[in-house]
Symmetry: C2
């Protein structure tokens, strides 16, 4: 941020009065420009024990498998966002979605939330940001070709929890950045 989006004058980066961290401030119109984490919402669509995965057509991680997910939009709920992303990326609907995983990614200022749901009629397709979609049995998941740590972790939780048939909300901090997973440098 270089300019004030309210008045167009240059901003400075300093600690405002009555605050304790640096913000972008406009000393012309006195606007403080707060910057906050973003929420990514998605689904874990399940059909007859198989999980719907999408091959990413766009960066980051083009050519890697993911669960349908994307940035939450203003004016929607997390569940609505998760359903919207699933429709956009996989042309798929889920029924009875339940909040399932909540991940903090403080290094990149994101919060990820996945809803677990039933893939309606087992139907899915290929959205604009997707190269290919498919239903995967737990034993066939392409673990080495998953796009993001939150995807692998959600799948691991699901496989573990489906043994018992109980799916408590899982909450975890992922403190390593994208592309630098443990053991991969």
């Amino acid at each position: 941020m270089k300019y004030c989006c309210e008045c167009g004058k240059g901003v400075v980066f300093k600690i405002p009065a009555d605050d304790n961290r640096e913000r972008f401030i406009c000393e012309h119109c006195d606007t403080i420009h707060y910057q906050n984490p973003r929420v990514v919402v998605g689904c874990l669509p399940v059909y007859q024990g198989k999980i719907l995965l999408c091959l990413r057509a766009i960066e980051p991680r083009k050519g890697y498998w993911t669960l349908p997910a994307g940035f939450m939009e203003n004016g929607e709920s997390t569940e609505e966002g998760a359903r919207r992303e699933t429709l956009e990326e996989a042309c798929a609907s889920v029924s009875e979605p339940q909040l399932y995983t909540v991940f903090d990614l403080p290094r990149i200022s994101q919060v990820y939330m996945f809803y677990r749901g039933n893939l309606v009629d087992g139907k899915y397709g290929v959205g604009a940001e997707t190269l290919e979609s498919g239903l995967y049995s737990p034993e066939d998941i392409p673990w080495q070709r998953l796009a993001f740590p939150v995807v692998g972790q959600t799948l691991r939780f699901y496989i573990e929890d489906s043994q018992r048939g109980e799916y408590p909300v899982r909450n975890e901090v992922i403190s390593y950045p994208w592309g630098k997973r443990p053991g991969k440098g």
Copy 2:
């Protein structure tokens, strides 16, 4: 938003190519300015069956009781944010915080997350944004003077769940706006 924060030129509000909703766009430097929901994080601090509440010293809802909470900052986890707000507003620490409630407030583009935790040593104070703090038994909660619907709902969930001693993560959409609660016009 009137000006591009990257180049200082005026922005337009229209649907970008490959998108399906209006955004603020700079046609000078081609930046798309996405706007996304913000996350509010807080704690439900409990000590010997009593709950720590704070009387707000600032608007909105100055003079009403709340659980310590505030906007999540970049670079922190939801739990870190919840702990920080509890320290700032109530000079208090919680041990073993567990994610407890997740509320969607689509009308104001916010997601609220409260962590349930033990108030360390029963100690608390009065932060800069607080007029007064206190530990309240369930029967003494000032229901008519609570600041926000998410606070009352978190307290109701806690009182219900504490009967059984089980605290599953609760997830709910609050679709009415601040100040317009059911039955209050």
